[in-house]
């Protein structure tokens, strides 16, 4: 569904992405992991066309996305920091997005109901807490039931109830055959929802494996233990040379 070949992006002298090739399919939940500054957000933004890569191509459903814009109707994006025009109310923001997306007639308002957004929809964006803003971002990402979800730190700042609700929604969408890309530093949040792990470091792709494989190789059950084991370089060679059979 998403095919990335030899993607390279440099900011001045700094290589944010270095020769990345990846292939994602429907029904996968991919966790993009890596330390700060490893290129996760740059990779996401390249797929969205917000960052223009220096080399390499990205194909979505077989079509190269360079200089295109209408492919984004298939993507639901939840940014890391959601900031909205201060004087607009939640209701207005949602209505605005609906008016922009005239192509979409059926809305998925499950999260809007779940987060009880209608009760606060007259509040202005300025007056909202970080968590509530995050909830609005989540609602907007799921509103047009896209084929691909790109969620950048979705659970950061959410309370446990909202966080569980969002995770349930992610699991449900994956079961519907959607492709989901997540970055997060809260590994425990990713435990039950991830099917694949992509690990980036300094812009390079270190590994791309299914969670099952990693569990087998490292002998650990929990995601944070698995990642810790890999980072301690107990098993990196083994992991890297393991056949890629996604």
């Amino acid at each position: 569904m998403i095919e990335i070949t030899q993607l390279t992006k440099t900011f001045r002298k700094f290589k944010a992405l270095d020769d990345i090739s990846l292939h994602f399919e429907r029904g996968q939940t991919i966790s993009l992991l890596g330390p700060n500054g490893s290129g996760k957000t740059t990779l996401i933004k390249s797929i969205l066309g917000l960052v223009i890569p220096g080399k390499g191509t990205i194909k979505i459903n077989g079509a190269v996305i360079k200089d295109q814009w209408d492919y984004r109707s298939q993507i639901g994006y939840m940014p890391q920091i959601g900031r909205y025009p201060e004087n607009m109310t939640i209701g207005q923001v949602i209505k605005m997005l609906k008016e922009i997306r005239k192509d979409c007639k059926r809305y998925d308002e499950e999260l809007i109901e779940g987060f009880n957004i209608p009760a606060v929809q007259h509040k202005t964006m300025r007056s909202l807490s970080g968590g509530t803003r995050q909830k609005v971002s989540a609602c907007l990402a799921f509103l047009f039931s896209p084929e691909i979800f790109i969620l950048d730190e979705p659970t950061a700042g959410l309370d446990p109830v909202a966080s569980e609700l969002l995770k349930d929604k992610i699991i449900k969408e994956r079961a519907n055959g959607k492709l989901i890309l997540i970055t997060s530093h809260v590994l425990s949040d990713l435990d039950d929802i991830t099917s694949h792990i992509v690990y980036l470091q300094e812009g390079k792709l270190l590994l791309y494996k299914t969670v099952e494989e990693l569990k087998k190789v490292t002998g650990q059950e929990k995601l944070n233990k698995i990642i810790a084991a890999i980072m301690q370089k107990n098993h990196p060679k083994e992991c890297l040379h393991y056949e890629n059979n996604y």
Binding site: F11, K45, L48, G49, L50, V51, I52, W69, D70, Y71, R72, S73, I75, Y77, P79, I81, G82, R83, Y84, P85, E86, N87, M88, Q92, M96, L97, E99, I100, R101, D103, S137, L140, I150
Partner: protein
């Protein structure tokens, strides 16, 4: 595009800075016109206020607004929208909001107090300054990644056109006073939108000769009609060219 303009306006017309801007303009306009009974003098003071306030407020406010809405821009660009549409819609929203504030602050009082042809040109030049300096703000926004640097550039741009340019012009006239500098000077004036706005109004008032070199020159060389048309064309260029460059640069910008 229309949707984005509509909602940017929704947001901006409730923005406190815009409201205060309109109120201050209105207060100044009313107090200035109360001072003298000569309409022409009143308009001249208003012209000076417009030339001083409008550029700096327009460019600063727009630059800050563009930089503050980077995250929202990012969210909207993740929707199926062309980058150019998004950028120009945001510009249109902010330019319309600032124009409304100017018209409400200066336009309404001035039209009630003294309504002449010169009043209309004052309003036209004020609106042009709004459009030009918010277009320059847009250009600054796409050229700079950092908000602080962007705001610095906005302040320098505004000061350059309102203060520094005239100083440079004077030193130019002074150093080349032995040569016929009149015609090159006309060309140089076209390089400053604030001067163009001044000339446009002065051509309508009969004090052009009194109000400095540039006004007298324009009157002498072109007469009122051609001079006005020329300045309007120059100001249109000053609006459109920054917008075109901004759209070009934005196409390749990483957000």
């Amino acid at each position: 595009m229309r949707t984005i303009i509509k909602y940017v306006l929704f947001d901006l017309l409730r923005n406190k800075t815009i409201i205060v801007y309109a109120l201050i303009l209105a207060a100044i306009t009313i107090s200035v016109s109360g001072m003298g009974d000569n309409a022409s003098k009143g308009l001249l003071s208003l012209l000076n206020i417009t030339l001083l306030f409008v550029p700096i407020i327009s460019i600063l406010f727009s630059t800050i607004y563009f930089f503050n809405s980077v995250e929202f821009t990012e969210l909207l660009l993740a929707q199926p929208i062309r980058r150019k549409t998004m950028l120009l819609a945001q510009y249109a929203g902010i330019a319309i909001a600032l124009s409304i504030a100017y018209l409400a602050g200066v336009g309404i009082p001035v039209c009630i107090l003294y309504y002449t042809a010169a009043t209309i040109t004052l309003l036209v030049s004020g609106l042009f300054l709004t459009l030009i300096f918010s277009a320059l703000a847009l250009l600054i926004f796409v050229l700079f990644k950092d908000k602080t640097k962007g705001i610095g550039a906005a302040i320098i741009t505004a000061l350059f056109f309102t203060l520094l340019f005239d100083g440079l012009l004077l030193s130019f006239i002074y150093s080349f006073s032995d040569y016929p500098v009149d015609k090159p000077l006309l060309g140089l004036i076209s390089l400053n939108p604030v001067d163009l706005a001044r000339v446009l109004v002065l051509l309508q008032l009969d004090v052009a000769v009194m109000m400095g070199y540039s006004g007298a020159l324009f009157k002498k060389f072109m007469g009122s009609a051609t001079g006005s048309i020329y300045t309007v064309i120059c100001m249109l260029c000053w609006t459109v060219i920054p917008l075109i460059i901004a759209a070009r640069v934005f196409k390749k910008k990483d957000i």
